[in-house]
């Protein structure tokens, strides 16, 4: 009888450790928010813009949040003797009418969130370049560090907006900077 117990215990332990390893592996997945469903998406020349809705919500009956308008992603090196570049956008604008705009956020993928604009009983949001006149300071990087031999570093960015109906909009793009050549 005792002889049976030992293999059973070993088998049980092996089973438990296998499940634990599986859980760890699943936890390491890059998670996309499961509660969001993309309902409109466009891509052009490495840039993508999307509108998403909460999973299960009937987005067809709701007025959609618009695409975020974020033209002219600029990376400027004011002083060529310094490894300092400044990222900015001409403006960022989005409308959720008749829903309220809750937030619009800017994230540089290398750093995380760098800006958050909070709505206040407003159905649209407009953020001009001069609300952040200096832009976001980043390093220009060495020549070719983005993979393009003529330019310095490239910064991937994500601009997100969310309205009071839970609809979201996001822009994914990349801005290339001039190189710092000491």
């Amino acid at each position: 009888m005792r002889k049976i117990f030992i293999p059973l215990i070993i088998a049980g332990l092996l089973l438990v450790s296998t499940f634990a390893a599986l859980q760890v592996a699943r936890g390491q997945e890059i998670s996309t928010p499961k509660s969001e469903v993309v309902i409109n998406s466009e891509s052009l020349d490495g840039n993508t813009r999307q509108v998403s809705a909460p999973e299960g919500a009937d987005a067809s009956n709701q007025p959609l949040i618009g695409f975020i308008d974020s033209p002219t992603a600029a990376c400027v090196q004011p002083d060529p003797t310094k490894d300092e570049c400044f990222l900015n956008w001409y403006y960022m604008s989005v409308s959720a009418d008749p829903n309220y705009m809750i937030t619009m956020t800017v994230a540089l993928n290398d750093f995380g969130f760098v800006g958050r604009y909070n709505g206040f009983f407003q159905t649209s949001m407009y953020v001009p370049y001069n609300m952040n006149p200096d832009g976001y300071k980043v390093t220009c990087g060495a020549l070719g560090s983005s993979g393009d031999p003529k330019w310095g570093k490239a910064y991937a960015y994500t601009i997100r907006a969310r309205d009071s109906a839970g609809l979201g909009s996001a822009n994914y793009g990349t801005s290339f900077c001039p190189a710092y050549t000491p």
């Binding site: 052009l44 600029a74 400027v76």
Partner: protein
């Protein structure tokens, strides 16, 4: 030569001949002359195709970059600011991919388009430090250095526009601070 080999050669020749004849029959309709056309005319050089109207590509516009200015915000620093009133380019129905600014053969700014058919860059986003230069260094004794610039734009159809210009700066050199020589 053996008898069998001769028969095989004969059969092969017959089959080859049959295939050749079949090929000619298949090709015959293509060579058929139209009524009123002689055989010689059929072999003559065909008349040139009628001229097709050239496909009109929507042109990228010239880049608008008015008032290239070089100003000296603070004297005795030797630092001038090169700016424009604005930069603007229109890609028509195509999207603008990039607009870039280069000063004295060095890339200084890149503006990336994002689903836009035109690009407007305001003055505040085009401010570049350049050395003012000593008086006369650019050739005019009343002024400082000349800086060459190139502004380029490219659209999604691969069309390009470029502006080449020169901005002359006020003369200014950094002030030298003469520290007193202290002896121990």
């Amino acid at each position: 030569m053996s008898h069998r080999f001769r028969i095989s050669l004969l059969i092969f020749t017959i089959f080859a001949g049959l295939f050749l004849a079949w090929g000619v029959v298949q090709a015959a309709p293509a060579l058929q002359a139209s009524p009123g056309e002689t055989g010689l005319a059929m072999l003559a050089t065909p008349p040139p195709l009628p001229e097709q109207p050239a496909k009109e590509l929507p042109d990228i516009s010239f880049i608008d970059s008015p008032s290239a200015s070089c100003t000296l915000p603070r004297e005795n620093t030797g630092v001038c600011l090169l700016t424009w009133s604005y930069l603007y380019v229109d890609g028509g129905s195509n999207n603008i991919i990039t607009m870039t600014v280069g000063i004295d053969d060095k890339a200084r700014a890149r503006y990336d388009g994002f689903f836009q058919t035109s690009m407007y860059v305001p003055s505040e986003m085009t401010s570049f430090r350049v050395p003012c230069g000593a008086p006369g260094v650019g050739g005019d004794p009343n002024w400082g250095a000349n800086h060459n610039y190139v502004i380029r734009a490219r659209d999604s159809a691969g069309l390009k526009a470029a502006n080449y210009g020169t901005a002359t700066c006020p003369a200014d050199i950094p002030a030298r601070n003469f520290l007193p020589l202290l002896t121990r």
